[in-house]
């Protein structure tokens, strides 16, 4: 008998954070991620942890800033409009070279938008969003299991590179329930290190009159020094790009069509591949797991022998810009829905079939399908 439990994606991420040593959670309620806060509110007091419902998203991210500066594994979670609000604090945390984990359970926008799932935060999580030169390490789960494993992984990567890491989920992954196994989530963290920050010599843990003061800050009014900090930070980002690109390729090697999709869209593409078999169109899926660093070389390799590339997103096309940067010699098509609408396999399949037939005629890559 398996030891799996049935959990919502939001609950799984919260439980994984606790198992990864997070004892400081600061949140502000917003649908569809409120279960994360609710879970933390219930669990944290029982394990000598801190749950605090802040007065706003801005306050919550600045509490994360403080806890991270003191060396703790700290986390906040939110949904799209809330993440927009947190951007200032995220920029400060990145500018102070602090590790923390942010979970964004994306809902449809722009503005207040709606409470149904979307993938329209790609730009704001991968291209900065806040001010200044910085990057977030972005992991995109596509199952409830990955909501857990990637949240735990995000803590490890954040600590390793002293940089904020973000888990990009969506309203579907947050709300849906799936069987999940916590065995591989637990492996990464040493529980005896929960209050031991000795491996973070930069943290403001108190000098104990034994060392000089540690100062956590993002301000530097000396342009020469500030530029140097940025140069060092970008050297760190080069390391992240070298070491941490993650992706998955699914399907037959010599397919006609390559789908590029992450998260929920990737799940739908898997079903679309099956559907296309009936139409005698072979397709495979390239799923970026890290959205930054973007797995560019692996994408080029996956696209090598296909006739067309179809990018599928629950937006009007954001990741497609990174796909276009990396693939210049193939027609790239787009299939997506927005506003909380979900792309259906039949709609995506139609774009793929049209793509293959368009190429036979004129090689055009301007076709945009999948929208009614």
């Amino acid at each position: 008998m398996s030891d799996k439990v049935l959990m919502k994606g939001n609950e799984a991420a919260a439980e994984a954070a606790i198992r990864a040593g997070c004892r400081y959670f600061f949140g502000y309620p917003i649908t569809p991620q409120t279960e994360v806060s609710a879970y933390m509110a219930k669990k944290m007091p029982k394990i000598d942890g801190v749950f605090l419902q802040a007065e706003s998203e801005v306050a919550a991210i600045n509490m994360v800033f403080g806890a991270a500066g003191a060396g703790a594994r700290a986390m906040t979670s939110t949904s799209s409009p809330g993440f927009s609000l947190k951007q200032e604090g995220v920029s400060y945390i990145a500018g102070a070279d602090l590790p923390c984990v942010i979970l964004d359970v994306v809902r449809a926008g722009p503005g207040l938008g709606g409470i149904q799932a979307a993938q329209s935060d790609y730009f704001q999580v991968t291209k900065g969003g806040g001010h200044g030169d910085y990057r977030l390490i972005v992991l995109a789960p596509s199952t409830v299991q990955e909501m857990a494993t990637f949240t735990a992984l995000a803590f490890d990567l954040a600590d390793k590179y002293r940089n904020p890491a973000l888990v990009l989920s969506d309203g579907i992954l947050g709300q849906m329930m799936e069987p999940i196994d916590f065995d591989d989530v637990e492996a990464g963290f040493d529980p005896s290190k929960i209050r031991d920050f000795s491996d973070k010599p930069w943290a403001t843990t108190g000098t104990n009159c034994k060392r000089g003061q540690n100062l956590i800050k993002s301000i530097n009014t000396n342009p020469v020094e500030l530029e140097q900090e940025n140069i060092e930070r970008y050297a760190k980002y080069a390391e992240v790009e070298k070491n941490e690109k993650r992706c998955e390729t699914i399907g037959v090697e010599n397919a006609d069509v390559l789908f590029v999709a992450y998260g929920t869209s990737a799940r739908i593409c898997k079903n679309t591949i099956e559907l296309l078999k009936k139409e005698r169109v072979t397709a495979k899926l390239f799923r970026p797991i890290t959205l930054w660093p973007f797995p560019d070389d692996a994408l080029k390799l996956a696209a090598k022998n296909v006739k067309a590339v179809v990018v599928v997103e629950m937006s009007h096309g954001q990741m497609i810009e990174d796909v276009r940067l990396n693939i210049q010699d193939k027609p790239i098509y787009f299939s997506g829905r927005s506003g909380g609408m979900i792309p259906l396999p039949a709609d995506i399949a139609k774009v793929a079939i049209d793509a293959v037939s368009v190429i036979k005629n004129d090689g055009s890559n301007t076709y945009e399908g999948g929208r009614e």
Binding site: M1, K4, V5, M7, T31, I115, M176, M177
Partner: protein, 201 residues
């Protein structure tokens, strides 16, 4: 008039159980009393309920994506009428609190309060946890739980063995077990469930 009140832990399968019971026992009215979660609501199964001639009484905001904790405006006619009715209540003690509003009405009715339990949910995975959850819900709603419904499942990964093991847990809980549900056909002593609200993607 009989009334069946379905309560339980968040994500235990209350709404699916409520819909299955209404359809199977031909109960012609079902009320959505969830003021906690805007997702997975009875309105999502409106078509199948309508096809079975079951009237859905729900907040005018349910299923509209307006994240408003509101009650159906026409709920009082449920208490005035003589028809049997199923109440689908929100999760945990937080969701059950809404029942307190109707305590006097329930006191006049022949009520069965049924707590749905999935022992594969981490917070109701053993007898002590189930009892704790039941106590919290009873304290919040002011009603006594009449029966438990064993809705143990791991969705498509459910097994017969898992059900057998779950029955042992319920043996230790001092609240009578009304039924054990499953989506696996041909298991003796079970109520065969169908999925109406959720589907795999």
């Amino acid at each position: 008039m009989k009334c069946y009140i379905v309560i339980g832990h968040y994500g235990s399968g209350k709404s699916e159980v409520a819909i299955n019971l209404a359809i199977h026992y031909k109960i012609k009215r079902i009320v959505d009393l969830d003021i906690v979660n805007p997702y997975f609501r009875l309105n999502d199964a409106y078509n199948v309920l309508e096809k079975n001639n079951i009237e859905v009484i729900s907040s005018q905001f349910a299923g509209t994506n307006a994240d408003l904790p509101s009650l159906p405006h026409n709920i009082n006619r449920v208490f005035d009428a003589n028809d049997d009715v199923v109440f689908d209540v929100g999760g945990d003690d937080v969701g059950a609190r809404v029942l307190g509003r109707f305590r006097e009405e329930f006191a006049k009715m022949n009520c069965q309060v049924m707590m749905v339990v999935n022992t594969r949910r981490p917070e109701t995975s053993d007898a002590n946890m189930i009892i704790k959850q039941a106590n919290e819900i009873e304290a919040a709603c002011g009603l006594k739980i009449s029966y438990l419904i064993n809705n143990t499942n791991l969705m498509n990964e459910s097994t017969e063995k898992m059900l057998e093991n779950s029955r042992l847990i319920f043996d230790e809980v001092p609240i009578p077990l009304l039924m054990t549900t499953t989506m696996i056909p041909n298991i003796p002593d079970t109520f065969l469930m169908k999925r109406y609200l959720t589907q795999a993607i």
